[in-house]
């Protein structure tokens, strides 16, 4: 599942999968800025069939954090 999440991140942010590591943080690369973030959230909603709440949208500050948050929605990663 982590593989799928990595794929979604890479596709949504338009970056190579190798860049998607636990340490990858929001606003640390030009692609993952506020605009990139909106696209990422939409991609996650769609890929996992969930609807992320607003608090979690802004809490998703790293790839690691994303895994924790998705777990709350029943996505096992």
């Amino acid at each position: 599942m982590e593989e799928k999440l990595r794929e979604v991140f890479a596709r949504a942010l338009d970056i190579p999968e190798e860049m998607v590591k636990d340490e990858l943080e929001f606003n640390s690369i030009p692609q993952w800025d506020s605009i990139g973030h909106l696209g990422l959230i939409a991609a996650l909603d769609e890929a996992f069939g969930i609807m992320i709440e607003t608090e979690d949208v802004i809490d998703m500050s790293s790839f690691k954090k994303a895994k924790e948050i998705l777990a709350k929605y029943g996505v096992q990663v």
Binding site: P30, L38, A42, E53, T54, E55, V57
Partner: protein, 358 residues
């Protein structure tokens, strides 16, 4: 940061005494931070003989005129830490403010905005129509007030539709498809007051086209200056949008790019509210003396959020009146106020003379 995170869970809870104590402590720290990290800010405080603090009341805190951000770049972090530069829209003058954000301040602003707006519309993300054009977001590292507002509020929405094309025309077919797709769902509408009036309401009115946006909530801000010239006030605006577009629930907000995140939202009772981490003080436009509740004057805004630029305590060019504190029927604590408009330009010049630091 954890302390702040907890704080953001309820941003309208602090009563007067607790709030003043909290703000004073945070703002004293902020002033000292900026004094030590922003050369220009230090020079100004030194010139005024105030140095880095310590202040004993909110009213004594040194304020900067908001116009100052149009004249000089004020930054309190190393330039390489700046991730975003915000600019005012500059509709009324050629000069625009430049506000420098690092990751910390940017994140605080987003969290603050979410906590305030969440108090009105909850945390569930709704299908969202942005009553503007996507082209305001073309440059990703520099936004004007409109772009920054759109991005901040977009966190509350999903399946975002930008209603206007690049020429500001309503994209009718996309709108119809969107409304069909989200039939029965609550829709979040966001836009800027003047843009909504000019490019949505007036266009629909002229075409005699009625929309059914009954099940929606509109949040708008950006100011009334252009509309007051056309005799459009808040009541007229709300009534017109209800009649033509079917919008029943409208929240106006007051905020500025120099303190983005700390917005003042209009509550169900029709008043702007100061959240627990920001405040307003009304001052006499000529003497700058603090005025009591009920009297109209210049609005001073205070916010704990700015860390990367010295924008915590600002004297605006807007006129307004505070009507009370901790007493609004809507249940939220904090001061409540209304905006009257802007100080006329001639008086403004006089006002910035008072603040001429050169």
């Amino acid at each position: 940061m954890n302390c702040m995170d907890r704080f953001f869970e309820n941003v309208f809870h602090l009563e007067k005494a607790k709030k003043q104590e909290y703000l004073l402590d945070e703002l004293n720290k902020a002033i000292l931070w900026h004094y030590n990290h922003c050369q220009e800010y230090k020079k100004m405080l030194d010139t005024l003989g105030k140095k880095g603090g310590h202040y004993h009341s909110l009213e004594d805190l040194p304020m900067l005129p908001v116009q100052l951000f149009k004249m000089i770049d004020l930054v309190s972090v190393p330039r390489e830490n700046v991730i975003k530069i915000l600019t005012s829209s500059g509709t009324t003058s050629q000069q625009v403010s430049r506000i420098f954000l690092d990751r910390v301040t940017s994140s605080l602003q987003t969290k603050a905005l979410i906590s305030i707006v969440g108090s009105y519309i909850g945390s569930h993300r709704h299908p969202m129509i942005i009553l503007d054009t996507k082209s305001v977001l073309t440059n990703r590292s520099s936004f004007n007030a409109r772009g920054a507002g759109i991005l901040g509020f977009s966190n509350f929405g999903r399946d975002h539709l930008y209603l206007l094309d690049e020429q500001y025309n309503i994209q009718w077919s996309q709108l119809e498809a969107f409304l069909e797709k989200h039939k029965g769902e609550k829709i979040l509408l966001f836009g800027f007051t003047f843009m909504i009036w000019r490019y949505v309401y007036q266009v629909c009115k002229k075409m005699d086209k009625k929309l059914d946006l009954t099940n929606s909530v509109l949040i708008h801000g950006g100011g009334w200056k252009k509309l007051l010239d056309q005799q459009v006030d808040n009541v007229t605006f709300n009534r017109s949008l209800r009649e033509q577009l079917g919008i029943q629930s409208v929240h106006n907000y007051y905020g500025m790019v120099e303190q983005i995140g700390s917005i003042f939202m209009e509550c169900e009772e029709g008043f702007f509210h100061a959240p627990s981490f920001s405040d307003v003080i009304i001052r006499d436009p000529k003497t700058l003396q603090v005025l009591p509740f009920g009297e109209e004057g210049l609005i001073q805004v205070l916010s704990v959020l700015p860390k990367s630029y010295p924008g915590n305590i600002l004297l605006t060019e807007d006129l307004g009146t505070v009507y009370g504190e901790d007493n609004c029927k809507c249940g939220r604590k904090g001061k409540i106020f209304l905006i009257k408009g802007r100080l006329p330009a001639a008086e403004l010049r006089g006002c910035s003379d008072v603040y001429s630091y050169q």
